[in-house]
């Protein structure tokens, strides 16, 4: 059991954990019709407010790229920084691990630089691959900002990346390598994912409507989020997680969500809980017909006739890909702190065959244990469980 000592997040609906909870609890979306100057796809997007105008402090400017601006906006949070500094003072900087997830890192910088390289035959002189696009960059940048010196790694398993960060951090703590960990994830809007998902016909022309009968794809958002995990008691704790692989297809889920079932069951076993103990599931709920159908099948298999309240908050934040795990972990932690459930955003028409107990409007509830699901390309699945002791 690892206490959630502090959280920070930036997302399309605002900056900060309170803004995230306010948006998801009120079903106030941060998504808008695509008006990005550099992408003309007819879709909806979730850019983080003020990211384009953000400048990194002079000492960090060599790290400048869209994903590090997102990370910086999140790491500016004074409460989180104080908690991180306290952990460093208590344990020592070398005893704080750093485990972050991303799917595309700072690839937006390389997209821009590559286009210039084609035109001029030269890479732009200010382009620094290692400090922007390289998968390691988000870890190195965050370590420099936070002053942590423990073991670090970037996890890149597509949309489960920052959920799996919790699992790696827990193993490092269990092995006695570290006393606390900062876990998180960052992914920015970029051409690679916008056009990539469009190529698979998974990008909705409408705002995404997870679990809706008329859902037809995802809306991509961007985000950065961090959580400080410590052994010290906290209001909400991370009590266990489960991981699995579909072994089915690179970009399509197993129809019955077999891998998702495995991850949920492994998480329940790790947390020493049964399905009936769980009071809420923040679903992966991307809004594609196949993903939501498979996850619904997996939820029915794990939770049975008893069911469980379920919602997807991607209609508010968009699908933040490698950052989805951390964003939705923070939503789930907030649900436990606030003793309330966020509704499934943008839901208009139920699809009865999904047979889910969907949260359709904000609901207060006595909540002790809650689950967050994240599944990704490559059939990578991760489920996290958070608890609020009596």
């Amino acid at each position: 059991m690892l206490g959630i000592s502090a959280t920070t997040v930036v997302h399309s609906a605002g900056h900060g954990t309170a803004a995230l909870w306010d948006a998801v609890a009120q079903n106030r979306t941060g998504l808008r019709r695509n008006d990005l100057a550099w992408c003309d796809l007819a879709c909806w997007v979730g850019p983080v407010p003020a990211v384009d105008e953000t400048t990194l402090p002079v000492g960090l400017r060599r790290w400048d790229c869209r994903s590090h601006r997102l990370a910086w906006l999140a790491l500016e949070d004074a409460t989180f920084r104080r908690a991180a500094s306290t952990a460093i003072e208590r344990h020592g900087a070398h005893r704080i691990g750093l485990v972050l997830g991303t799917s595309t890192s700072g690839i937006r910088s390389t997209e821009i630089a590559y286009a210039k390289r084609r035109e001029t035959g030269q890479w732009p002189p200010d382009f620094d691959y290692r400090r922007s696009h390289a998968v390691e960059a988000v870890c190195r940048f965050s370590a420099e900002v936070l002053g942590v010196k423990g073991p670090m790694v970037t996890i890149s398993t597509a949309c489960s990346s920052s959920a799996k960060a919790f699992m790696t951090a827990q193993r490092w703590m269990d092995a006695g390598l570290i006393d606390a960990a900062i876990v998180g994830g960052v992914d920015s809007l970029c051409l690679s994912t916008l056009h990539g998902f469009d190529s698979l016909q998974l990008l909705s022309g409408d705002i995404c409507r997870p679990f809706d009968a008329e859902r037809n794809g995802i809306s991509i958002g961007e985000a950065a989020g961090f959580v400080l995990l410590d052994r010290a008691p906290a209001v909400v704790s991370f009590v266990g997680g489960g991981e699995s692989s579909d072994a089915w297809h690179m970009s399509a889920p197993h129809p019955e969500g077999q891998g998702a079932q495995d991850a949920m069951r492994a998480a329940l076993a790790a947390a020493k809980l049964t399905a009936s103990d769980i009071g809420y599931v923040n679903a992966h709920g991307t809004g594609t017909p196949a993903n939501d159908r498979a996850e619904a099948a997996a939820l029915r298999a794990v939770y049975g006739e008893h069911g469980v309240p379920v919602s997807s908050t991607k209609g508010v934040t968009g699908h933040t890909l490698g950052a989805a795990g951390i964003v939705e972990a923070i939503v789930t932690v907030q649900a436990l702190e606030q003793q309330a459930l966020p509704p499934s955003a943008n839901l208009r028409t139920h699809e009865p065959t999904l047979a889910l107990d969907l949260v359709v409007r904000p609901r207060t509830i006595r909540l002790r244990h809650a689950m967050s699901n994240n599944f990704g390309f490559g059939g990578s699945n991760c489920t996290l469980i958070f608890s609020r002791p009596d």
């Binding site: 900087a93 070398h94 750093l98 799917s103 390389t110 997209e111 590559y114 286009a115 084609r118 890479w123 691959y129 390289a134 998968v135 390691e136 870890c139 370590a143 942590v148 010196k149 423990g150 073991p151 670090m152 790694v153 970037t154 996890i155 890149s156 398993t157 597509a158 799996k164 699992m167 790696t168 193993r171 490092w172 269990d174 092995a175 006695g176 390598l177 051409l191 690679s192 056009h195 990539g196 190529s199 698979l200 016909q201 991981e243 699995s244 692989s245 579909d246 072994a247 089915w248 297809h249 690179m250 970009s251 077999q258 891998g259 495995d262 990704g376 390309f377 490559g378 059939g379 990578s380």
Partner: protein, 272 residues
């Protein structure tokens, strides 16, 4: 910290000039770099279903061929293996192909995009061998092997399950190789366990992992028997670490990892 001990049960190697662990050990014993001019021909991954085989990129072919080799010596059923894939850039030619399309037509192929995720090799591994265990992709630049090894050993120690660790670098194509000068494919796959939970299985060697302060020592240099250009390959550190199999008990190989050093110490002289 207390040392984390692990047993290495099997290892494979695939790179220009070295087609197996025995080739690598022979080079280590000779102490001279091997010839790397012959191009590495990567087989079509027979373990994949035909419809997936045609999508397999060079890095998928590289990693699956390396895994196929290590599985032949693995004492564990493949479906029992958790996996950690450790790489620096990790997609090779796919990265350049995506960037080229995005800079021109923006008509991304639906076959290209799923291959552009870093965990494509782990996804194809799970499909090829019907492995439904956890698969993780760890990356930290030239320290990717160090971070992956730490992930793999802690995963083996805390889950008491054997772990497949694959450390690899696909060759970068022009002009991406100007940014990341990796011009040859290199890969190694290890099967390891930790916690002495798994008895009565063959062991190539036993090792202790330890995190040390960065000012306590320097990271080990790449040995002279590895081709010097591979200093830019994260997986060359894994190939160098396999040289410990030819070393005496007590020998240490040190890897940079974040703000610290990760030392791998040979514990015994077990040989199979």
């Amino acid at each position: 910290m207390n040392s984390l001990c692990f047993d290495l049960h099997a290892a494979s190697v695939l790179a220009p000039g070295v087609a197996s662990l025995s080739d690598l050990r022979e080079a280590c014993r000779r102490g001279k770099p091997f010839e790397t001019t012959a191009p590495l021909v990567l087989p079509s991954p027979a373990a994949l279903p035909a419809n997936e085989r045609r999508r397999a990129s060079q890095v998928v072919r590289l990693t699956l061929a390396c895994i196929e080799q290590v599985l032949q010596a693995s004492p564990f059923p493949v479906d029992s293996l958790r996996s950690v894939f450790a790489t620096d850039e990790g997609t090779g030619e796919i990265c350049q192909q995506m960037l080229e399309v995005l800079a021109t037509t923006r008509q991304v192929s639906p076959l290209l995009f799923p291959n552009s995720v870093l965990n494509a090799p782990s996804g194809y591994f799970s499909i090829a061998w019907h492995n439904r265990q956890s698969a993780t992709l760890a990356s930290l630049g030239l320290e990717s092997f160090a971070s992956g090894l730490l992930c793999a050993v802690t995963e083996a120690a805390t889950t008491r399950q054997p772990v497949l660790l694959v450390s690899y670098d696909p060759a970068m194509t022009e002009p991406m190789d100007e940014l990341l000068p990796v011009t040859q494919h290199t890969a190694t796959a290890w099967i390891l366990s930790a916690g002495r939970a798994i008895q009565d299985v063959p062991v190539l060697g036993s090792f202790a992992l330890e995190l040390e302060a960065q000012d306590s020592a320097l990271p080990s240099s790449l040995p002279s028997w590895l081709p010097p250009p591979w200093v830019e390959h994260s997986s060359a550190r894994a190939l160098a670490a396999l040289g410990l199999l030819e070393a005496s008990p007590g020998a240490v190989f040190r890897l940079a990892l974040g703000g610290q050093l990760l030392s791998i110490r040979r514990l015994d002289g077990v040989e199979t």
